[in-house]
């Protein structure tokens, strides 16, 4: 039962960290809990559907069906995050002016960030599908353990993952107000970069690209992906002990792209 709880914990950790970061990045938005829960609910529903289709899906395209879905999900999430980062930069001047005029906090009254809602749904969908498949398989296949025990262990593992996500969120809420905008933009940018890196890995796994897929370096002796810190950093900043050249390139390119877009679109200090 410990094994089941541990596996569910690991699977849910990544999604929980993701949600925690997005929740922190949108802390100032009114009604944020509503759409965040909506995103999570939507993702969970999608995860169940995906898990149900898994058997049929995996045989598509000569055994690559699952990778194709994964690539589509990651690519969509990446585009949404990039769009969000760039939108925020483009409208930063408006938002700051509005806030000054109203004398209110910067983010109040902002419309629903659909992009982030969808990104949360996609993250929960991806990790959730694996969790549902695993728990479903354990329920069906195991004769030694009762269904109730499996579900309890799964719930405990999930609770553990959520706890870590909540802890990260709580930690992030301690950022002083004047820095919160810059820090949360950085967090979302790093999320986008780590998704780009995972996208490159998925593309290599599916055999769509061959060049640049060999590992660039191996830091697993310093920080293994199996260690708790390694897993945490993987979920937070996309740490990979053996990234390929493509992965590293994609990560850097996304950060660069967002940095440039922010510079170019950000409000300039007024002359005089």
């Amino acid at each position: 039962m410990y094994a089941t709880a541990l596996i569910v914990f690991r699977e849910s950790l990544e999604a929980a960290l993701f949600v925690g970061i997005i929740a922190a990045a949108t802390r100032e938005l009114t009604g944020r809990s509503r759409w965040l829960s909506g995103g999570i609910g939507l993702g969970a529903l999608g995860a169940v559907l995906l898990a149900l289709m898994a058997e049929r899906l995996s045989g598509w395209m000569d055994g690559l069906g699952q990778d194709l879905v994964n690539i589509a999900v990651l690519a969509t999430a990446l585009v949404l995050l990039l769009w969000h980062c760039i939108w925020v930069s483009a409208h930063a001047r408006e938002m700051v002016q509005q806030a000054r005029a109203v004398g209110a906090s910067v983010r109040q009254g902002q419309r629903t960030p659909w992009a982030l809602l969808l990104v949360v749904a996609l993250a929960v969908l991806r990790e959730g599908a694996e969790t549902v498949l695993f728990v479903g398989g354990s329920l069906v296949g195991s004769t030694a353990v009762s269904g109730a025990a499996v579900l309890t262990a799964g719930a405990l593992g999930l609770a553990g993952g959520v706890l870590v996500g909540a802890a990260v969120y709580a930690g992030l809420t301690h950022i002083p107000t004047r820095r919160v905008f810059a820090v949360t933009n950085l967090l979302v940018a790093v999320l986008a970069a780590s998704i780009a890196s995972q996208l490159m890995r998925a593309v290599a796994q599916a055999g769509f690209v061959e060049a640049g897929t060999a590992p660039l370096w191996d830091t697993s002796s310093w920080l293994s992906m199996q260690s708790p810190l390694g897993a945490l950093l993987h979920g937070l900043v996309g740490y990979d002990a053996q990234p390929s050249a493509l992965q590293a390139l994609a990560y850097a390119a996304v950060l660069l792209l967002i940095a440039l877009a922010t510079r170019w679109l950000a409000p300039r200090p007024r002359a005089g």
């Binding site: 094994a3 596996i7 690991r10 898994a54 058997e55 995996s58 045989g59 000569d62 055994g63 690559l64 699952q66 990778d67 694996e130 498949l133 695993f134 479903g136 398989g137 354990s138 069906v140 296949g141 195991s142 890995r201 290599a204 796994q205 599916a206 055999g207 769509f208 690209v209 061959e210 897929t213 060999a214 590992p215 697993s220 293994s224 992906m225 199996q226 990979d240 002990a241 053996q242 990234p243 390929s244």
Partner: protein, 113 residues
């Protein structure tokens, strides 16, 4: 401007077609079976320096997740399903993999030489 757009679109399509088209010399294909929560064989020998097409067939009634930190690959294999995972090109050496859902018994390694 119009011509440049056409050209870049054509180049894009060509690049996509080139990467999706099967390689001229098909990469070696190796089969890995999951049975009774174990991998068969537990040791796979593959040539180093070229991409390998790893086909994993799960003959159990429950799903398994093929995972390898050394190879940087992870993929869920539903019950009864056959999936494809591309690995490499690998430097000569030993690369361990495991089944995340049954880590105690599902273990193996790929040796590239």
């Amino acid at each position: 401007m119009h011509r440049r757009l056409l050209l870049s679109r054509a180049l894009c399509a060509a690049a996509i077609a080139a990467t999706l088209a099967p390689a001229a010399a098909a990469e070696p294909e190796v089969l890995l079976v999951i049975k009774d929560h174990r991998f068969e064989p537990t040791l796979l020998k593959v040539p180093a320096g070229q991409r390998i097409k790893l086909v994993v067939h799960n003959q159990d009634a429950t799903p398994e997740e093929f995972e390898s930190h050394a190879l940087n690959r992870e993929k869920v294999v539903p019950a009864g399903a056959k999936v494809t995972i591309f690995i490499g090109p690998l430097k000569p050496g030993r690369y361990e993999f495991f089944g995340e859902y049954h880590e105690a018994t599902a273990k193996g390694a790929i040796v590239a030489e």
